[in-house]
């Protein structure tokens, strides 16, 4: 994948895409093979290694409920090694970008719907990662607000979204990949779906993958 790509990851079975992101994030172990992300092997755990350059947001984001979004963002900044004056500026900007309002200083568990997910996304973006892995992100938000937040401000962020609802990622992603039976069955641009008059949904992605496999090999 090129730097700055926005990839939609779909899989059969559905859990495979989430599991792949968890392996990439270092939260699950691969049974075999090697993983490299952002040009670094996954085993490089140095502070400058891939963990500081890759951010992961789980579908059920697990921030302690007694933390307020501001506290969680400051904690994320501290863990990312951001100096305090810079952290204050970034947290202020992120609170405004996330539109947390009065929920910013209340415990996350007492915030309105979507506060936890916004905070999790903000905590991931605070460290300005090069690669952002999102597993079914921001489902509690309305579609328009979700699209606004997922149109990331930095152009150099490579985005991978695992989603069971491909249609909801329209306008956010420019590439799509299908994992089927443990293998990459398709990796194509979204425009290829459009050119083939296929919708950005599970059926359309399956159809494009089947067509790619059925196409005869070009003569040498």
């Amino acid at each position: 994948m090129p730097v700055g790509a926005r990839l939609l990851l779909v899989s059969h079975p559905e859990a495979a895409a989430s599991l792949l992101l968890r392996v990439l994030a270092g939260l699950a172990r691969a049974a075999a093979g090697t993983v490299a992300l952002a040009g670094l092997p996954r085993s490089d755990d140095s502070p400058a290694g891939w963990r500081r350059r890759v951010a992961y947001v789980a579908s059920a984001s697990a921030i302690y409920g007694w933390l307020s979004p501001v506290e969680a963002l400051f904690l994320a900044a501290d863990l990312a090694g951001i100096e305090r004056p810079d952290a204050e500026r970034r947290v202020d900007e992120m609170v405004e970008h996330l539109r947390l309002g009065a929920d910013a200083t209340r415990p996350v568990s007492r915030g309105g719907p979507g506060v936890l997910e916004r905070t999790a996304l903000g905590a991931a973006l605070l460290g300005q990662p090069e690669v952002l892995l999102l597993d079914e992100p921001l489902r509690a938000l309305d579609p328009a607000e979700r699209r606004r937040l997922l149109r990331l401000p930095r152009k150099r962020v490579t985005l991978v979204i695992a989603s069971r609802y491909p249609a909801s990622e329209e306008g956010i992603v420019n590439q799509v990949a299908l994992i089927r039976d443990g293998r990459v069955a398709l990796h194509a641009g979204v425009d290829e779906l459009t050119d083939a008059a296929l919708p950005l949904n599970a059926r359309g992605i399956d159809a494009l993958a089947n067509a790619a496999h059925a196409a005869p090999a070009a003569p040498s």
């Binding site: 939260l27 059920a60 697990a62 921030i63 302690y64 863990l79």
Partner: protein
């Protein structure tokens, strides 16, 4: 973070409360057993050691459930995904629980001193040494609890930790002999503080064994936690 989570989830109060309750036998039972109780298996120090063992088993179970919960609900994963080493996550929980245990043992020792001081051989130094050895035993049981929490789901981890801790800690208090490399001797020293010939030496040895066991089990915990899915 760990201490704040323990406070907000009330687990801190449960652990401290259990330790404070453990000090009650020393305060409530008569220091000199009456003839009616001549056949009783334990004297006040013995009951104190037994109650402390029970509190430590409870603390081990809570530690096991805590680490397993951190894995299940993803808070450990949230930290790990932010370049916090997994060893740091596991060891920080050990430090938090060990601190709690150590603080909780101070009033236990104080109650034992005020209630039973004149009957203790070796004076306050022996009691402090026995209390320190008991704290080291607590550290070993916490390590066992965290190992269970790194390997098992929440409730099985808590059950296994409680059972193993009870099996390790109770028999020496009741007078059963145990291999020297098991970590429970500190409680035996506490239980026999009114008749021990060399309380300081025995406490030092018991503390060393318990710390050694704690170190080995903590290494196993870290290795297991490194390999666990978060």
């Amino acid at each position: 973070m760990a201490l704040r989570e323990l406070w907000i989830s009330f687990r801190l109060l449960v652990v401290l409360g259990a330790l404070l309750v453990a000090g009650l036998p020393a305060a409530l039972l008569p220091p000199v057993m009456s003839p009616d109780l001549a056949g009783a298996p334990l004297d006040p120090l013995g009951w104190l050691a037994l109650a402390t063992a029970a509190a430590m088993a409870l603390a081990a179970a809570i530690a096991a459930a805590t680490l397993a919960s951190e894995r299940r609900r993803g808070t450990a994963g949230w930290m790990a995904a932010r370049a916090v080493p997994r060893a740091t996550i596991a060891l920080s929980w050990f430090v938090a629980f060990a601190l709690l245990l150590s603080i909780g043992l101070v009033p236990v020792a104080a109650v034992a001193w005020f209630a039973l001081g004149p009957f203790l051989l070796g004076g306050p130094a022996a009691l402090v040494a026995a209390a320190a050895a008991t704290a080291c035993v607590g550290g070993a049981t916490l390590a066992i609890g965290l190992f269970a929490g790194a390997a098992l789901p929440r409730w099985p981890a808590a059950a296994v930790a409680a059972l193993v801790a009870t099996a390790l800690l109770v028999p020496p208090v009741l007078g059963a002999s145990a291999p020297w490399w098991l970590p429970a001797d500190g409680l035996r020293v506490l239980a026999e503080l009114d008749s021990a010939a060399r309380p300081l030496a025995d406490s030092l040895r018991a503390a060393g064994v318990a710390l050694g066991v704690a170190a080995v089990v903590l290494v196993a915990t870290v290795v297991t936690f490194e390999r666990a899915d978060l």
